[in-house]
Structures are given as C-alpha cells and as structure tokens.
C-alpha cells in the first residue's frame, strides 16, 4: 500500500468508526485510537511502513495546531471571563497532579527525567470525555459551570508544565554526568528560545496579517506562519509546543480580531487530528504492556491524589463551595488526547525509555477512559447536578 492510499484509508475508516462510537456515547478520539491499535502492527498489521515514516511530520503539525489553538486562552479577557475560582483551581490541580506524581515516582526510585515527564503528562485531562458525561446526564448547575471552566483551562496549564518539564528532563537525560547548573541553563535556554521565537512570530502574524483580505489567503497565511514557527523550533531545538502557544498568546493580546486566525483553522484541522490519533494508536507496543505494571499503577493512583490535593487547595484559596473542593477532582479523572500527544513527544525524545512512557500512558489512558466517566457521574450526583 502506498502512502496516499494509506492516508485515504485511514481517513475513511476513522470517519465511520467515529460515527459508530457516537452511537455508544464515546468520543471520536477514542474511536481513532482503537482503529489505530486494530490496524497497527500488533493486531492486523495493516499499516504500511511508509505511513509510520511520515508520522513524525503529522504529529508535529497536529501538536503545533493544538498548541496554537489552546494558546489563545492566555488572554486577560479569558481570565476575567472564567473568574479567579476557576483560575486558581485549574492551575493548582494541574500543578498538584504534576508534583504528587513526580514525588511518588522519585520515592519509588524511578529516574528523575522519567518521573518529570510522567508528572507533566499527569496534569492533562480529557475535555471530550468529561463533556460527554455532563451532556449525557443533562447535568446543570454551578458545580458544572466551575468544572467546565477548569476543564477548559487545565490542558493549557498542562502543556506549559509539560514543555518546561520536558526541557529540564531532556537536559538531565543528556547531561547525566554534568552539574545541575548546566541542566538548568540548558533548560532555560530552550524555554527562553521558545518564547523569543513565538513572540517574534506572533508580532509578525499580527502586523503583516493586516494585508490579508480574504478567507483563503487567511488560511494559507495562518498555516504558513504556524509551520515556519514549528520548523524553526525544530531547527533550533526549542519547544514546538511552547513556541506555538506563545505565538497564539501574543496574537490574542495584540489584536482585537485575532479570532479570525483561530476560526479559519477550524475547517481544516480535524483530518490532521484523525490521522494523528490513528497513528498514535498504531504505535502502541502491546508487548510493552507487561512491563508497565508498577510505574503504571503508581501513575494511575498518584495522579488522582495530586488532582484531589490541588483542587482542594485551589478551592480553599478561592473560597469555593465545599462541593467543589470535595468532588471537582473526581470530574477531572478522564485522560486521553493531550496526554497521548505529550507521550508521543516523549517517545521521540527518549529513544530508550520513550516506548515504555508512551505505552504506559496509553494503557493508563484506557483505564481512565473506562473508569473516568463513572467518577464524573459520581461527582455530578454528589453535587446534585443531575435533574432528570
């Protein structure tokens, strides 16, 4: 099978599997992953090698679009809109999951660079799965509003935490023998480089964008700037995620009509995400599942404890209702798309342990996707948000 035939096949199978998944109230992303696993090397082995070869390009494009899109949340207006309660809770639950997971893994003698990556991935949650449950039970109320705000923002904090952790982690991995100072310097260089690149690209996007007069040009222009930013980030070995997120953040704060850059991508991005998640499913190494046991269980348990602790402190600081401090973290348990995207990046960066990280996250994702919605439902019941 040649590459184009393979892509066409993936698009069509992905499309109809997502339609089928909808009937059983499952998010489209989960369907893409399952299809990927089924046609991947571990089951049917239907995936042509040359498609696996272009998966690097697809994942960089998909992740840069996701980061760009999520980056528009970093505006003063959004922060005012969601209010301080959602801000505090979302920041602290993301940091809480990171901190508790890293600490727990370090206590169990997992190498520092791996613990950092797992901790960072722990911060992400799965908005689609959570919205699905809220919608399924027609839940409404103040608790749901707070939950939706936190869910909307926590992947944004998650991506920042991940990018910074990854920079530190890479520096630790590559310089195992050198001093802490050089690790910190190298990580700082990567982070500052990303901000500089994203910042310059953002200013350019915003100012030259005034010359763009129609929608087709706008789409070409926006994609062009995002690809240049991503390409330069790869060239200079700085973070693609941070660069694209910062690009978006700069544009959103510079330009009143910046929504046009984000809206125009809405028509073209889904086919890319579809291919991305099918390929993610296909790169799952089922043979590694046997090896993840211990780390997987620590990750599963301590992510939840971290989310709970973070939410609790966030709720206390912002004087939220006791319902929010007690139950909101239950609603944040599902994990899927963003976490897998992060794990795929980690897989690329750490050739030796990357496969294990990815397979662990993929396996725990399956667990969270199965038990997560149940806990979301419990949270909604406990807080009397289900009125049916």
């Amino acid at each position: 099978m040649n590459t184009i035939l393979g892509i066409g096949f993936i698009l069509i199978v992905g499309l109809f599997s997502a339609k089928a998944a909808e009937k059983i109230k499952t998010p489209a992303i989960t369907a893409y992953l399952v299809i990927g696993i089924v046609i991947g090397p571990c089951v049917l082995n239907f995936m042509p090698d040359n498609i696996i070869n272009i998966s690097g390009i697809i994942s960089n494009v998909a992740l840069s679009l996701i980061a760009f899109s999520i980056g528009q949340n970093f505006s003063k207006r959004t922060f005012q809109q969601v209010g301080k309660q959602v801000l505090w809770i979302s920041i602290l639950e993301a940091l809480g999951a990171w901190f508790v997971t890293v600490t727990a893994l370090l206590c169990f003698n997992v190498p520092g660079y791996m613990a950092l990556v797992f901790g960072a991935i722990a911060a992400a949650s799965a908005p689609a799965a959570i919205i699905m449950v809220v919608r399924q039970y027609k839940a409404r109320g103040k608790f749901v509003d707070t939950l939706m705000g936190v869910v909307a923002l926590d992947d944004a904090w998650g991506l920042i935490i991940f990018s910074i952790s990854l920079a530190v982690s890479k520096a630790m991995y590559l310089h195992l023998s050198t001093s802490m100072v050089s690790v910190v310097l190298k990580a700082l260089l990567e982070i500052c480089g990303s901000f500089l690149l994203g910042g310059i690209a953002g200013i350019l996007l915003s100012y030259i964008g005034r010359l763009i007069k129609n929608k087709t040009e706008l789409l070409i222009y926006t994609l062009g700037i995002i690809f240049i930013t991503t390409g330069l980030a790869l060239h200079f070995h700085v973070s693609v995620l941070l660069s694209c997120m910062f690009l978006a953040a700069v544009v959103v704060n510079l330009n009143n009509e910046s929504f046009k850059y984000f809206d125009v991508l809405g028509d073209v991005d889904w086919p890319i995400y579809l291919i991305f998640f099918v390929l993610a499913g296909a790169s799952l190494e089922i043979a590694l599942l046997a090896k993840i046991g211990f780390i997987g269980i620590v990750y599963l348990v301590f992510r939840v404890i971290g989310k709970f602790a973070g939410t609790y402190f966030g709720a206390k600081i912002s004087n939220a209702d006791s319902d929010v401090s007690k139950y909101l973290s239950l609603g944040l348990m599902p994990q899927a798309g963003v976490a897998l995207g992060m794990a795929l990046i980690a897989k690329d960066q750490f050739p030796e342990v990357g496969g294990l990280i990815f397979t662990t996250v993929a396996a725990t994702t399956v667990v969270y996707e199965i038990i997560g919605p149940f806990f979301v439902k419990v949270a909604l019941q406990k807080t009397n948000q289900i009125h049916a």
């Binding site: 809109q81 939706m148 963003v338």
Partner: protein, 157 residues
C-alpha cells in the same frame, strides 16, 4: 462613499439582560434570524447575537473557551439539537449575555464601502454592525446594501 451613507439606521438592538423568550419574540415574524447587536446603557456595542449563537443555548457553560481546545470536540457532528430537552424556564433563565458573541466584527461609519466589503468577506458575514468614533452602535451594513448601491450607480435599480 462611506459606510454611513448607505447603512441601515433603523436597527433592533438588545441588551445583556434581554432574555431568550424576548429575543425570539422580537424576530418571530422575520424571514430568518438577523444579526442582532447587543449594546450597553450608553449604546456602546458589546456583542452580537447571530443565528449560530442560538445553538449555545444547548451547549455547556464556557463553551467559547472549551472550543479553543480542539480535542474537546466530541465528534464531527455539531450539537444534536433534536436530542436535547429544554425546559420551558430556559426562555427566562437564558439571557443575551450567556449566548452573545464577543468576537465582534464591526466597521466604523467613516470607513469606505470597500473596507466594509473586505471585512465581511474575510469573516464570512452577510451583515455587520456600524459604530461611531465612541464605539456606539449607529447602524448595520449588509452586503445587500453594498450591492444595491452598485446597482443604483449602474442604473440597474
């Protein structure tokens, strides 16, 4: 020629507190739901309600922010309006502030027709509100108004 020379000045606008029942009542006899500007007490334009914003009644809170995470999409389908029950009370509970679009595409009254046309093309809009230097709502201009002007100039209309 400037926008203010051909814009429609009789505009039905609403405020943040207008409820859904009142909003629907205003336009029930229209051919289709128009672009409805939302103004504050000083007539300053603060939002727009378009047909697509009516869908927000069916969606969760913080919809606008949630949609910025592409992975929060449940499926390829837009909201399934046939599968959602709405209580009667929603007519009074939902207010314009909950559903209005704050991503406003607007044009100043002193701008040229070409500017207004380009702006509408860029954002795929058929009509956009017109404001004065103080950001107050003064009218609405549509692609139809611009076409009419061109037809008039050519002697067609």
């Amino acid at each position: 020629m400037q926008v203010k020379d051909i814009m429609q000045t009789k505009v039905i606008s609403v405020t943040r507190g207008t409820n859904l029942a009142q909003l629907l009542g205003l336009f029930k006899d229209f051919h289709s739901f128009p672009v409805v500007p939302v103004v504050d007490e000083n007539q300053v334009l603060i939002g727009i309600v378009r047909m697509r914003n009516l869908f927000d009644v069916f969606k969760p809170h913080h919809q606008e922010i949630l949609m910025r995470n592409p992975l929060s999409m449940l499926s390829h389908e837009p909201t399934d309006i046939f599968d959602i029950d709405i209580e009667e009370g929603m007519g009074f509970l939902v207010i314009v502030a909950d559903i209005m679009d704050q991503k406003i595409v607007k044009v100043k009254e002193s701008q040229s027709l070409k500017d207004a046309y380009d702006l509408m093309q860029l954002h795929s809009r058929d009509a956009i509100p017109v404001v004065n230097a103080e950001k107050q709502l003064v009218g609405i201009i549509s692609i139809f108004d611009i076409l009419m002007q061109i037809f008039r100039e050519k002697g067609v209309a």
